[in-house]
Amino acid sequence: MQLVKNLYSYRELLKSNVKKEIRGKYKGSFLGVLWSFLNPLLMVAVYAIVFPYIMRVKTDNYLIFLIIGVIPWTFFTTVMTQGMITIRMNAGIIKKVYFPREILPISVAVSGLVNFLISCIIILLFCIFGGVGVSIHLLLLPVIALIEFLLVLGLIFAFGAINIYVKDTEYIVQFIINMLFYGTPILYTKELFPEKIRWILNLNPMTHIIDGYRDIFLYHQMPSIQSFLFMIGTTLLILFLGICIFRKLEKGFAEEL
């Protein structure tokens, strides 16, 4: 509760930090902020060529299927990569001024969320012009986006803080994210995964989140209740653990940096 009050009184800092995150990332590049939308699209283009033609994956509406997987995944990975290093990057002010340290990971996650919500326009355009159409289920988009936001926030709270003490965390987590890309049904449907080990896929909260996006954008149906409960449950657990770890470790930031 104290944390929420504290964050509220520092809302101006949060706001200017989010702006800085969004503007600063592609500063100096020719296309600027456009890159954050262009990047996932180019990625989609590559997969859309490789998988149907070379690997002979056959899924209906594969292009749209891919886009709905890749864009939320980009949200997840960008926030993870930037969130891991945000405390280290801001060492200068951490050593000089007091402010709630939580602001730093939160601004990374918020800027990611803003980017993602804008990118959803791309998904929508593809749905409309790709013949899939839209439905009332889209009302659930903010809910799933919020869950993904809280999940990734919890993760960067934890790993961003640990990374100050053990710098290897950054590289280990980066590797796990790369691996997780294939452990999440982004390029393939869950059904293509061998049935015996499909339960592993279901342990991954990102599986449920991406399936959720596909349900509302592509299949026009409600995500299953179990799936929903699992997403919310794991997210809250990770967020809670993340905040605990962060609060425990933040006291040493100024000395360790």
Binding site: I93, V97, K167, D168, E255
Partner: protein, 246 residues
């Protein structure tokens, strides 16, 4: 009279130890491979400090280099935390440990005012309210829309000081920054501090310029080797300090 309510800063049994690494292990490999070499020497910088500063007091912390004054100030701002004991502060707190923390060279003076003031916890409307005061105090009207990288170091400091002093915090912690800008600006800062002193602000200053402390503070705390050596009226403490440090 309720005495307890009047205490702005309460330092209770505070001990601070720093770990001094000769070769700090940064990676997992270094931690594992060289675990025997990771001996860290522990240095106790503050030893069981007890201190109560009342609301409205202007207090100076004096002592030789390395005595722990700045560490105590950093503990009060919550940049670092005590190893043992606790520090309770009451009211909004601003620290001027290092001026211009969080300034961005490519942004204009005006943008930096917003950014810097938001680090101190001000909201947009509060900054809007103070913007004119801040600019007027810094005397940088002509340059305020230029990027701060074009500023001279004196101008930079003036802007930073103006922001910090206009935050209107209840507690102001200042570390050795009374030497800001030219004589004219220094006098102005001094006058501003005098003015704050007579309002109900609490001010804690770490400084080596004993003459200005004599004028400004009504209480001085002498810290030596992590202990409070003497605590009392400014002139008496400084006189003894000067006698012993000749």
């Amino acid at each position: 009279m309720n005495e307890k309510e009047e205490i702005a800063i309460n330092v209770e049994h505070v001990t601070k130890k720093f770990k001094v690494y000769y070769d700090k292990p940064n990676t997992l490999k270094e931690r594992i491979v060289f675990w025997k070499n990771n001996k860290a020497e522990e240095r106790t910088v503050l030893k069981d400090i007890n201190l109560k500063i009342k609301k409205g007091e202007t207090v100076a912390l004096i002592g030789v280099n390395g005595s722990g004054k700045s560490t105590l100030l950093k503990l009060m701002t919550k940049i670092i935390y005590p190893t043992k004991g606790k520090i309770i502060t009451k009211g909004k707190l601003t620290s001027l440990l290092e001026l211009g923390a969080g300034f961005h060279d490519d942004f204009t003076g005006r943008e930096n005012i917003y950014f810097n003031a938001s680090i101190f916890g001000l909201t947009k409307s509060e900054i809007d309210e103070r913007l004119d005061d801040i600019i007027a105090f810094s005397e940088l009207e002509e340059f305020i829309d230029n990027p701060v990288r074009t500023y001279s170091s004196g101008m930079y400091m003036r802007l930073a000081f103006s922001v910090a002093i206009n935050v209107k915090a209840d507690i102001l912690l200042i570390d050795e920054i009374l030497a800001v800008g030219d004589q004219h600006f220094q006098d102005k800062c001094f006058k501003k501090l005098e003015e704050l002193k007579h309002s109900d602000k609490t001010i804690v200053i770490v400084s080596h310029s004993l003459d200005s402390i004599r004028n400004l503070c009504n209480r001085a705390i002498w810290i030596q080797d992590g202990n409070i050596k003497r605590d009392g009226k400014t002139n008496q403490v400084i006189d003894q300090y000067l006698k012993e440090n000749k």
